[in-house]
Symmetry: C2
C-alpha cells in the first residue's frame, strides 16, 4: 500500500511541475520565445527545447524506452544557447514537447509501483547494492527539481 | 524496508537542495547580497530570508515543532522585496539560516519513517482520508522543489 502511495506522491510532484511549465509555454506567442530569462542568459526557446530533450532522454535513463527526439540533444543539451544555431521552430518544439510528455505518461502509467524501486540505467548492479536509494524514483524526483529550477528562471523572463 | 527507503530518497533530495543553496550563500560577500536576480527582481538577501522564514514555518506545517523565527515573516514572506524595509543584517540572516536548518535536521532525524506518511497540519483528517498522498512527505517534496525554483533564479544574479 505505501509503495503505491509514495509512487503516487512522486508522480503528483512530477505532473505538477510539468503542467506548470506547459501552461507557461502554451501561454506564450511564438515571438515571446526569443525573450531571455536575464540579460545575456538563456532564451525561453532554449529552455523549452532543453526540458524536452532532457525528458526524452529520461526514458533511457530509467530504462523504460528509447529516446525518440535525439536530434534535439545537440542544440539544447550539448551546447549552450546560441542565436546562430539552426534550431527547430517554436511550432515544431510545441509538437515535440507534447510527444515526449505523452510518451512518458504512457510509460509511467504502465510501470508497476514496485518497479520504481529498481535501479536506473546510469548505474551498475554493484553500486546499486551499496546504495539502493539510487533508483528510478530518485531520478524522477531529481528531474522534478530540475523543472522547478528552470521554471524559477522562466518566470523572470 | 521500502518505507525507510522512500523517506531516505526524499530526505536526500531535500538535503541536496539545502546544501546547494547554502554553499551558494556562504560563498557570497555581505555586499553581494544586495544584487538582484534580474533587473527589478528580488535581491539575493530577500531570497535568503525568504527560504529561512519558509523553512522555519515548515516545522509547524509538518506538525513537528514551533516556528522560532516568526519575526522574519513580515519582511520575507508577507511582503515583496523592499529596499526600504528594515531587514536584519546579512550576518544575522546567516545565523538564522543555520539555526533553522539545524532545528529541522534534529526534528527530521528523530521522526520515524512511518510518521512521514501522516497528514500535515494544513489539512483536516477528513480531507486526508480522501487523499492520503497529502502527507508530510508530499510537503517535504514540495518545499524541495521550492528551493530548486529559487536556486535557479539565484544562479542568474
Amino acid at each position: 500500500m505505501e509503495t503505491q502511495l509514495f509512487v503516487q506522491i512522486a508522480l503528483n510532484g512530477w505532473n505538477q511541475q510539468v503542467a506548470r511549465a506547459e501552461k507557461f509555454f502554451n501561454g506564450l506567442s511564438d515571438e515571446a520565445f526569443q525573450r531571455t530569462v536575464g540579460a545575456g542568459k538563456n532564451r525561453i526557446i532554449y529552455l523549452y527545447g532543453h526540458l524536452t530533450a532532457y525528458h526524452d532522454m529520461l526514458k533511457e535513463t530509467l530504462g523504460l524506452g528509447t529516446a525518440t527526439h535525439s536530434f534535439l540533444v545537440n542544440d539544447f543539451l550539448k551546447n549552450a544557447d546560441d542565436v546562430k544555431a539552426n534550431m527547430p521552430s517554436v511550432a515544431e518544439l510545441r509538437q515535440y514537447w507534447a510527444e515526449v510528455h505523452n510518451e512518458l505518461n504512457v510509460l509511467f502509467a504502465a510501470l508497476p509501483a514496485e518497479d520504481w524501486f529498481k535501479r536506473h540505467n546510469a548505474m551498475t548492479d554493484e553500486d546499486f547494492k551499496k546504495d539502493p536509494t539510487r533508483n528510478r524514483l530518485s531520478v524522477l524526483l531529481s528531474r522534478t527539481n530540475h523543472i522547478a529550477y528552470h521554471f524559477g528562471q522562466l518566470v523572470l523572463a
